[in-house]
């Protein structure tokens, strides 16, 4: 009996490792292999074409350039916002702070569509202005501009950066600023000589995270950037899908993996440094009293609300607003197979697909993520292997979805494992993206269980299974719900990997939205809007569920 249990436990260790080995390490290794020898012979032509071609160099330069600008503008906007959140009390403060999870569950295609609905050529603002001033052409021309890409990147990352900086700032001692003020520091000196140096670790960490996210930006740039702009991610996609130039795609992927790996390692180090700072007298937020303070607080909140909520509201309104009146026509179109459609199936079918894949992903990610959390937390086998596996859970976060998709295409389309024509690649790819979120949710809850609880149960005669069922499972259940919801929402919105591995007859909602957006005609555009709204509602629902169940500090990134 004891032996069965012990072997069972080792089986539980092997399961997630096998999963990651087969569906993560193997595809990534294949990309490595492919970039050095495409057809069985050593061949650096992939790298050679990148090194010699100004075209690819431009891609790399643009990727770094837009990521740097996005990071700069995000931090610039976040700093005064963080000041307001740390120093002032106002209604909705904690709700707005909790929005930092939103970008993780908000699909890129939905956000892209939302911004098109707000300021695109057929967007609310443009149609309103055209009606108002009797214009022939839309006055706001932002599609396919760097400006739009930057705006959307700031939208995505503002709340994440805000959360990191506010959390760190709130933990600093209020006495420091008091002391500086007593010593006669003016407003300018307070920022340059006190706040910014003190906040440096948090600002660097936030900036690095924003850089990582925008460096690997795919959906936003693909949809909003047009052919003029391509990040590495988008270039990998073009090379693979449009040009079938796999060696170049693999080489580009490899470059990106290495850059991301370095960035992630640096980020993990920063995070460790930040967590060690603990102080005694935290800054206590107070109400804004003077009119200047009210203006400052109000101004920042205006930015937050306009930036975060306007596009989403515009999306909903635009999907219901047809030729000057409200109508559900775009939604009813979803059930029909429009003639000359780019799709093989009615859009409604994609919703069913997405939900089915979402449920499968949730199941796989919850099982794998929980097992990984147990493994990292050294709760499964006490071999202290946790430390070595800990970075492994972060690894898929560092690897972009596009890289994953490419790896799947390269590795899993031929024996020994040929899954290229199978739909199972979709939930598997989604699970790889979602599993770290589950693990990161469960791990803190697991670590919070004092070792004496399972020990007490054991001394009272409980078997290992009963301890898990009656003690541990109830104590991690909230985190499990959070992780499962994350997994579901991520699967529903996942775009980068799906666009590589989905077959034409099993599209997901984001894929359908993307294809519809690429087509002319009001009907296609309308369907894209309607489907984006549906996806948005599911994701907002998931977000609310996560916020309801998540305890302070659970599942932070």
């Amino acid at each position: 009996m004891n032996n069965i249990w012990r072997w069972g436990r080792y089986g539980l260790v092997v399961l997630p490792l096998l999963f990651f080995g087969l569906f993560y390490l193997y595809p990534v290794a294949t990309i490595f292999d492919y970039s050095f020898r495409a057809d069985g012979v050593f061949d650096l032509s992939g790298f050679a074409s990148i090194a010699t071609s100004a075209y690819y160099r431009d891609t790399l330069v643009f990727t770094v350039f837009q990521a740097t600008l996005s990071t700069f503008f995000t931090i610039l906007l976040v700093l005064p916002g963080a000041y307001v959140f740390v120093h002032y009390k106002f209604p909705g403060r904690s709700l707005l702070l909790s929005m930092s999870t939103l970008p993780f569950v908000l699909p890129t295609v939905v956000v892209a569509t939302a911004f098109l609905a707000l300021i695109g050529p057929r967007g609310l603002l443009n149609t309103a202005l055209m009606d108002l001033f009797n214009l022939e052409a839309p006055p706001i021309q932002l599609t396919h501009t760097l400006t739009l890409i930057l705006i959307v990147h700031v939208f995505y990352n503002y709340s994440v950066a805000l959360r990191i900086i506010v959390a760190y700032w709130s933990g600093l001692s209020s006495r420091i600023e008091d002391a500086a003020a007593v010593l006669g520091a003016n407003r300018w000196q307070m920022w340059w000589r006190i706040r910014l140096p003190l906040l440096r670790p948090a600002i660097v960490a936030a900036a690095l995270l924003v850089f990582i996210f925008t460096f690997t930006s795919f959906g936003v740039v693909l949809i909003l950037g047009g052919i003029r702009f391509a990040t590495l991610e988008v270039q990998i996609y073009y090379q693979t899908i449009n040009l079938l130039n796999l060696p170049t795609a693999a080489a580009l992927s490899l470059i990106q993996i290495l850059i991301m790996l370095l960035a992630m390692l640096y980020y993990a180090r920063l995070q460790r440094q930040m967590s060690s700072s603990q102080t005694v007298v935290p800054i206590r937020p107070k109400s804004a009293s003077t009119w200047q303070q009210r203006l400052f607080v109000g101004g920042n909140l205006f930015v937050v609300i306009v930036l975060l909520l306007m596009p989403l509201l515009a999306l909903i309104v635009r999907s219901l607003w047809i030729d000057g009146q409200f109508s559900l026509e775009y939604y009813t179109l979803l059930g029909e197979n429009v003639r000359n459609s780019v799709l093989f199936v009615p859009p409604m079918k994609a919703i069913a697909n997405s939900i089915a894949f979402g449920l499968m992903t949730t199941f796989i990610a919850v099982v794998m993520g929980t097992l990984l959390a147990y493994l990292v937390g050294d709760r499964l086998v006490n071999t202290r292997v946790g430390r070595f596996i800990d970075p492994l859970i972060m690894l898929p976060l560092a690897t972009s979805a596009v890289t994953l998709g490419l790896g799947f295409i390269l590795a899993l389309d031929e024996p020994p494992l040929n899954l290229r024509t199978s739909w199972v690649l979709i939930p598997i790819a989604h699970s790889l993206v979602a599993t770290p979120f589950v693990a990161r949710s469960v791990l803190p809850a697991l670590r919070q269980i004092p070792p004496s609880l399972p020990e007490a149960a054991q001394v009272l005669g409980a078997t290992p299974f009963r301890i898990w069922r009656r003690i541990e499972l109830p104590l991690i259940s909230r985190s499990l719900i959070v992780g499962a919801t994350f997994a579901f929402a991520i699967s529903l919105g996942e775009f980068g990997a799906s666009v590589f591995v989905a077959r034409p007859d099993t599209p997901t909602m984001p894929l359908v939205i993307y294809r519809l957006l690429g087509q002319p005609g009001t009907e296609n555009y309308g369907q894209a809007l309607a489907m984006s709204v549906l996806l948005l509602l599911v994701c907002l629902g998931s977000f609310l569920l996560i916020e309801r169940f998540r305890e302070a500090g659970v599942g932070e990134f």
Partner: protein, 329 residues
Amino acid sequence: MLELKNVHLSYGPNEVLKGISLNIGQGEIICLLGQSGSGKTSLLRVIAGLEQETQGSIVLAGERINGLKPQQRHVGLMFQDYALFPHMSVAENIAFGLRSGKMDAQQVRQRVDELLHLVRLDGYQDRPIDQLSGGEQQRVALARSLAPRPRLLMLDEPLGSLDASLRETLVKEVHDIIKLAGLTAIYVTHDQQEAFVIADRIAIMQHGQIEQIATPQELYYRPHSRFVVEFLGLHNVVSADCEAIRELLPDDTAREFLIHPKGISLADEGLNAVVTEVIFSGDRTAVTVEVPLCGSWRFFVYDPLIRLDVGQQVYLHIDHEFIIPLANK
């Protein structure tokens, strides 16, 4: 009842228990007393099966239990942090150990009521754990470990996290509950007052070894070693070659002796000493004197009419019954 023979425990090169041998009789309460890091808790964990001893044998009620898993040992262990299950009610916590056995719901309920009555928490069945005070949590934890009628009850600093006044009343209560249930128990503490109240015998532990095991009286009046003397705060250790009292010393090979405070009294003539410190504490006065060439001693004066001043010359009478030879290191 419980027989430990030469029990060792190591974490890698770090030896935590260095050959513990101990016999505990049926219905006896043994107290493990020592500073933190002396191995008290480790010994409990080895007996409970939560740590695997590197060597030695553990026999409980005639059965060798070395290889058994904790859930097979049928011992009770009350944790220092109580380890109450936060997601269960008081009754569910207490019933946890009963469900593993073969009792029906009615019997379980009855046993829970019985235990709550024993720890004087009648009516607390449905309270959530986080609404209990520290003292109430302590009693629920005690009830939970008593519930499955363990063959041996072990308590790891059960009053450690409570404040002093509460501790004083609870320690007697815990003692009475254990005795009432007729249990054999091992009680770990670092507080000697607690140990004196609760223990039939006290084992002083240091560096993973038992320094001395004896009844509280024997331990206090016949400490074996300098460590025990210092641990109990008895102070007055003199070297065998101390001139002034040489003729009083018993014929013994010991190189150090304890002049027990109980054996020192003021006299009209005798050993010459100078008062260096006087601390009045109500029913008694602690007096420290300097005995030429023999170091400083402390003893107690109980007569409130005697007044002493620092620097004053006094004569001491030493009762040779209270000169105790200490083990040579």
